[in-house]
């Protein structure tokens, strides 16, 4: 192999490849870091009751809004309600703000927020979506999972 002055188009190609590799590497690094810090894990009511989720980390949790559990503050937009898997596990959610149009007692809900050491979930965002056929897949899983456990316990 001969070393010496590179031909201009060879030099360009090398430059190109270097830029490419550098660019891709940087993009990959940023991407993985961003991914890593933005994964929101989903937890079911039973897991929250067992204390599985980390305290103070951003997570998602969901189930059915428990019937007759929604309480509104009289002087602010704070609202409290309980989320249940219909099989005996539930947890309390605190939220300040406007609830989505589809939010109802007895319907599926997914909240994003943090859990404190008392087992209270402070939600930053509440998602509700339903019709006769549809419930969020996470919630469907919660209900099904709890029912299976119930059945196998019997």
């Amino acid at each position: 192999m001969k070393f010496g002055v590179m031909k201009p188009h060879r030099r360009n190609q090398l430059l190109l490849i270097c830029i490419l590799v550098l660019g891709l590497g940087l993009a990959l690094m940023f991407t993985l870091r961003a991914l890593d810090s933005n994964i929101n894990l989903f937890y079911a009511p039973a897991e929250i009751k067992n204390g599985t989720p980390p305290i103070g980390k951003r997570i998602r949790a969901g189930g059915m809004v428990k019937a007759e559990s929604v309480r509104r503050a009289s002087d602010s937009l704070e609202v409290r309600f309980e989320v249940t898997d219909l099989q005996g596990s539930d947890f309390e959610v605190h939220y300040t703000g406007i609830l989505p149009d589809l939010f109802r007692e007895g319907q599926g809900v997914v909240a994003t927020g943090t859990l404190d050491s008392d087992g209270v979930f402070s939600a930053e965002e509440i998602l509700a979506k339903h019709d006769e056929k549809y419930m969020p897949p996470e919630v469907a899983m919660v209900i099904e999972g709890a029912q299976i456990q119930e059945a196998s316990a019997l």
Binding site: A27, T31, L41, R72, S74, M141
Partner: protein, 663 residues
């Protein structure tokens, strides 16, 4: 009866698409021109029968024929007429019928407006499009037939169209978006046809350019409109959520944007040949992936409809076959394709390379974020995660900044070789002016910040760069006006498109960093101060709409005691489905919107939760999108395609014209 005829027409169209694959292919292999020529007629037949089938479904909606299951699920006798018609594409089955209609429309356009192509090439393009159509028809007829009757026991009243979809935005959003999605099948078909015919010369790039531009323009319009619709209709005041389905339309857009730049380089300079082919393949593959994500229900999304694993699997198979076959063909024919052309570091080719690199990586990081939850679930055995908007913002924004810089440099660049001096001439000066202007303008805002200053500087720098490009065109020309008039339309299309990006970028950064968003508990007569505005709530009154009842609030917004506007936001309850919906009231202004939405009634004193948003410059986002779409439509009017028409008209030759320019 008409419904059965519609179903019959659909089956006929499906058979025609199969014939359109078989006959011309036979013609190709036997060299029989007459067989190859059938493609054009078959394309016309396919379009006509799909249109008839579509009209039959429209008719079923118009007369509220609830014996058709799809109509019963998505319409109602109380529904206003325009929504009865748009309800045709309000759910999975009908919207896929629209998809096939659009597909047959593009096919017939290609058949009619591609005379300049050699018969072989044209036939191959049409065969590919017919093959895709056949797949779509099969999927529609076998898994998602909108004409299915629910006899003998059918409901006397329909379940109603989802209230969110009862809106002007939904009448036009899907057709535009599908024109874009499906339109990307044209450059795909061109790429596959030239791989198949082993004719990967520069001409395929030339002929697929106008099609790509138009499809891309429609996609841009569709996305822009969708964003605007989400803003005023969903009642949260957001305009982009990085929702899986939004990403599904954004990824093909990113790839198509890369494609139309790289097509330009391939046509003008013969570079990036095999890369351009790959982009054409991936552009359409991303369209199909989008269809899969929307229609399979694998991802939680605001948009997802048709939660049906069987359909999802069918689309996934189709996707796998299309991508698999394309890549195998690509592997055999294009992967060792070398172009003999060189270019230098400061050439336009290099800038386009940078553009392609950034856009492709952007599409990939969006793809990663969109599919990651699926992969995670599969590998961890069912753990559900979500990837929030912070991920997308964190990776997407740093990628867009260098793209804006490239854009600022692009106007004065030349093919093959730009003197470093010409390229960078005045760039420092214009950058200085841009920063000074940005700082000056931003300081006039109530709460300036570095993001706004930065993006404003870049945007102004881009616009100045475009003006420089304009000046460069007339430098050394005696009659400057004439010189400007003689520039091809494509050049002005480029100016407007890039300016559109600058306008959108400004709108985005201002709307994100300067917005003021508060949720308030308000009783009748109470007042609150938001930003520089005084907001007064006067309580609600009951009003009645055609198919809903509503509580209509009255909100006055004042600035320094002068009334700016009175807004009437509504909380509606739709009678048929008993679903509640927020109708925001928006005072749209050039420099920023005032946005008020009713939350929910609160206990005590007739209080309501009221959402008030101040959104500076938010309209610029969509205005920029409109400019970008216009630029895509414009670039097909380019002289190059028209002068060919004249020439062919005079010599009556079979080659020369690309009437596609008017498509």
């Amino acid at each position: 009866m008409i419904v059965e005829l519609g179903h019959f027409c659909l089956v006929l169209a499906c058979l025609l698409s199969l014939l359109m694959v078989v006959l011309p292919t036979l013609g190709l292999s036997r060299g029989q021109t007459s067989l190859m020529m059938t493609a054009k007629t078959l394309a016309a037949g396919m379009f006509v029968f799909t249109l008839l089938s579509f009209l039959a479904l429209v008719q079923a909606f118009v007369v509220s024929d609830f014996s058709v299951g799809y109509v019963a699920r998505n319409s109602n006798t109380l529904l206003p007429m325009q929504y009865k018609v748009s309800a045709v594409w309000g759910a999975h089955e009908g919207s896929f019928l629209l998809w096939t209609l659009v597909m047959s429309f593009w096919t017939v356009m290609v058949a009619g407006f591609s005379r300049p192509l050699s018969l072989d090439m044209r036939t191959r393009v049409l065969i590919v499009m017919a093959g895709l159509s056949f797949g779509f028809y099969l999927f529609l007829i076998l898994t998602s037939n909108p004409f299915e009757r629910t006899l003998p026991f059918y409901p006397s009243e329909g379940a109603d169209l989802n209230p969110l979809l009862q809106d002007f935005g939904l009448i036009v959003h899907p057709p535009l978006l599908y024109m874009g999605y499906v339109g990307l099948s044209v450059p795909f078909a061109f790429a596959i046809a030239s791989l198949w015919g082993n004719s990967l010369d520069v001409s395929w790039a030339r002929w697929s350019r106008p099609w790509t531009n138009v499809a891309w323009a429609f996609l841009t319009l569709g996305i822009t409109l969708g964003s605007w619709w989400a803003y005023y209709e969903l009642g949260w005041g957001g305009w982009w959520f990085w929702d899986a389905v939004e990403n599904a339309s954004f990824m093909p857009w990113l790839i198509a944007t890369a494609l139309l730049h790289s097509l330009a380089a391939t046509e003008k300079r013969g570079v990036f040949k095999s890369w351009t082919v790959l982009l054409a393949i991936f552009g359409f593959s991303f369209s199909l992936l989008g269809a899969f994500l929307v229609r399979s229900g694998v991802l939680t999304s605001v948009h997802a409809f048709a939660v049906d694993a069987e359909r999802g699997l069918a689309i996934l198979w189709f996707l796998a076959i299309v991508i698999g076959c394309s890549l195998v063909l690509y592997g055999f024919r294009a992967w060792n394709l070398r172009s003999q052309v060189t270019f230098t570091a400061t050439s336009r080719e290099n800038l386009i390379l940078g553009n392609n690199l950034i856009l492709t990586i952007s599409a990939l990081v969006v793809l990663l974020g969109t599919l990651y939850p699926l992969g995670y679930e599969a590998f961890t055995g069912g753990s559900k995660i979500s990837i929030g908007p912070p991920y997308f913002n964190a990776v997407f924004v740093p990628l867009m900044l260098p793209l804006l810089v490239l854009m600022a440099l692009s106007g004065t660049s030349r093919w093959w070789k730009t003197d470093r001096e010409t390229l960078l001439k005045g760039k420092l000066l214009t950058f200085g002016i841009a920063v000074a202007a940005a700082v000056g303008l931003t300081l006039m805002l109530p709460s300036p910040n570095l993001w706004v200053i930065g993006i404003a500087s870049l945007s102004i720098w881009i616009v100045l760069g475009l003006l420089q490009a304009l000046a460069l065109q007339v430098a050394n020309k005696r009659d400057k006006m004439l010189a400007l008039l003689k520039r091809p339309v494509g050049f002005y299309a480029m100016l407007i498109g890039h300016m559109g990006i600058a306008v959108s970028a400004l709108g985005i950064v201002a709307a994100v960093t300067l917005s003021e968003e508060v949720d308030l508990r308000m009783t009748p007569g109470s007042e609150a101060r938001v930003d520089v505005y005084d907001v007064k709530f006067f309580g609600t009154t009951a009003v009645q709409g055609p198919n809903y009842v509503a509580d209509q609030g009255r909100v006055e917004i004042r600035q320094e005691n002068t009334l700016i506007t009175t807004l009437f936001p509504e909380k509606r309850r739709y009678l048929a489905s008993n679903s509640v919906m927020t109708e925001a009231a928006i005072e749209a202004r050039f420099l920023g919107d005032l946005y008020v939405a009713l939350g929910e009634p609160l206990p005590g004193d007739d209080a309501w939760a009221v959402r008030v948003h101040i959104k500076p410059f938010v309209r610029w986002i969509w205005f920029g999108g409109l400019m970008i779409a216009i630029s895509g439509m414009m670039s097909v009017l380019d002289q190059r395609y028209r002068s060919r028409k004249k020439r062919s008209a005079s010599v009556k030759a079979d080659t020369g014209v690309l009437e596609a320019a008017h498509g």
